[in-house]
Amino acid sequence: MTNKLFFAGAGGQGVLLMGQMTAYAAMAEDKPVTFLPSYGPEMRGGTSNCTVVVSDDKPVSCPLIYEADAVVVMNVPSLLKFESLVKPGGKLFINSSLIEQKTTRNDVEAIYVPTIELAEQLGNTRAANVVMFGAFMRSMGIMSMETCEHVLEKVFSGRKEKYLELNKKAFHIYNN
């Protein structure tokens, strides 16, 4: 069983971090995984996306995907460009704080997450990407929520430790 996951958004929206945290969580559960970022000449701004392939048992043969079990889109251009990537019956996670429209796909399960509003409830909109990460992980169920919490502890350590509690709350706040 292989899960092909795709994250897209604007630079600075934390899509690469979401992908990396997913890969960390997979590794923590000893699942073969690959994380492949898009790379280009722009250092700031622009779009960014990454592909994560998680396998249950055998090594990941291909880090590139032609269809995804789940796609996360954080802004409108990403929705327009990548909603077609979701395979029929797959899941599409939409950052409804920035994306007012609905998906044109009716053969996928769309999950609308108001990431910024939820993060605002915690007093810091910068946690919006972790809100999405939590919603995504809860819905996908590939790795346990406990494992993901450990990953958060790793990511928010050292100088970033002061943001750990905030992000743990953000991770659990979306509970639909």
């Binding site: 690959t34 994380f35 790379y39 043969s61």
Partner: protein, 362 residues
């Protein structure tokens, strides 16, 4: 067993080669491998070696020539157009029998081309763009762990064979992350130990047991002497052609088609094989891990009773296909599936093209 860490390819490569004994790095920034000089700048000085940002790739390869000739264990990396600039030095290193480890995190050409992954440096790495008769053993890993394992052994191998050893990884392998196990640190030789360990190195003759001076050179103006030297180099290369061959051969028995692919492309082929198998088509794979020496012997293992066609699958206009034809040696048709310019086919695209080719070959 060592703990697994999730590492970006480029950083894993750099860490592996340090653990393999490398102490010196000379480089110049170029996408998609700039994480390597950055990593080396952070690590080498504090781990008893030296990092130097060169004025150009020409400078870097010649710093390598000097440092390695003086006994230093040197690693050098760049990407396609930068490797082009280094070809002059590689020819010198081979002739002077000076070892080093070279990594090409390749992109697309010709010219400055683009920065997306490509495999159009196959000729450059296996044939060499430098002048004269020389060879550089070159390995093409398909995942980060394999790259780590190869780069870990490369410095010692280079020392043993007194020749550069190269690794060809494409930009995708450099930029992606996978869990890896890192091996233990190998012994690194200090400046004082070099004269004993490498008697051919420039150390000043006072450091030598026999107090004899050494000359590191490629110049031989007498044709007789140059011929003798090159013949001697090729005795070594012919031996390496037998000793260094590495490949993976999967599902060749009873296969309808056999893919030949290395690096990133081989991973797409593996997924394509799964899809084809679901559709009732048996596909095998020959994955060269050493691209020089090319695993010609692998082609003798093809099931000639069932296989209809051999397909070289490449991120170039078809370069490895020349070697594939040598391996097949006229026994079967050889066809090409390719994308170039930084375009990577999906595994579905490979499947569709392979099915068409199979139909045409029946």
């Amino acid at each position: 067993m060592a703990e697994k860490v999730l590492m970006k390819g480029n950083e894993a490569f750099a860490e592996a080669v340090i653990r393999g004994g490398c102490r010196f790095y000379f480089g110049y920034p170029i996408t998609p491998q700039s994480e390597i000089p950055e990593f080396m700048a952070r690590e080498l000085n504090k781990r008893g070696g030296a990092f130097l940002q060169a004025e150009s790739e020409l400078g870097a390869i010649n710093m390598t020539y000097g440092c390695a000739a003086a006994g230093g264990n040197v690693f050098i990396s760049s990407s396609s157009p930068g490797i082009s600039l280094m070809q002059e030095g590689m020819s010198f290193l081979c002739s002077a029998e000076v070892p080093c480890t070279i990594l090409n995190v390749s992109r697309c050409g010709p010219g400055v081309g683009g920065i997306q992954p490509g495999q159009a440096d196959y000729y450059q790495m296996t044939r060499g763009g430098g002048n004269g008769d020389y060879r550089i053993p070159t390995f093409a890993p398909a995942n980060i762990q394999e790259a780590v394992d190869i780069l870990y052994e490369a410095p010692m191998l280079a020392d043993q064979i007194r020749n550069p050893v190269a690794v060809l990884a494409d930009g995708m392998l450099g930029q992606m992350m996978e869990p890896v196990e890192l091996p233990e640190q190998k012994k690194q030789y200090s400046a004082d130990e070099i004269a004993e360990y490498k008697p051919w190195a420039l150390t000043g003759y006072n450091a030598k047991a026999d107090k004899q001076r050494v000359v590191v050179k490629s110049l031989r103006l007498q044709p007789e002497a140059l011929e003798e030297h090159v013949e001697k180099l090729f005795e070594k290369y012919h031996r390496l052609e037998k000793e260094l061959v590495r490949y993976e051969a999967i599902d060749l028995d009873g296969a309808d088609i056999v893919f030949v692919a290395f690096g990133t492309m081989s991973r797409l082929c593996k997924e394509a094989m799964e899809i084809l198998s679901e559709q009732g088509i048996k596909a095998g794979l020959i994955r060269p891990i050493s691209i020089w020496p090319f695993p010609l012997e692998a082609f003798d293992k093809i099931d000639f009773g069932t296989t209809k066609v051999v397909i070289s699958t490449e991120l170039s206009m078809g370069q490895m296909i020349d070697d594939v034809r040598l391996g097949v040696c006229g026994r079967l048709p050889v066809r090409l599936i390719h994308r170039t310019g930084g375009m990577i086919p999906t595994s579905l695209e490979v499947v569709e093209k392979a099915k068409t080719i199979l139909e045409e070959s029946k």
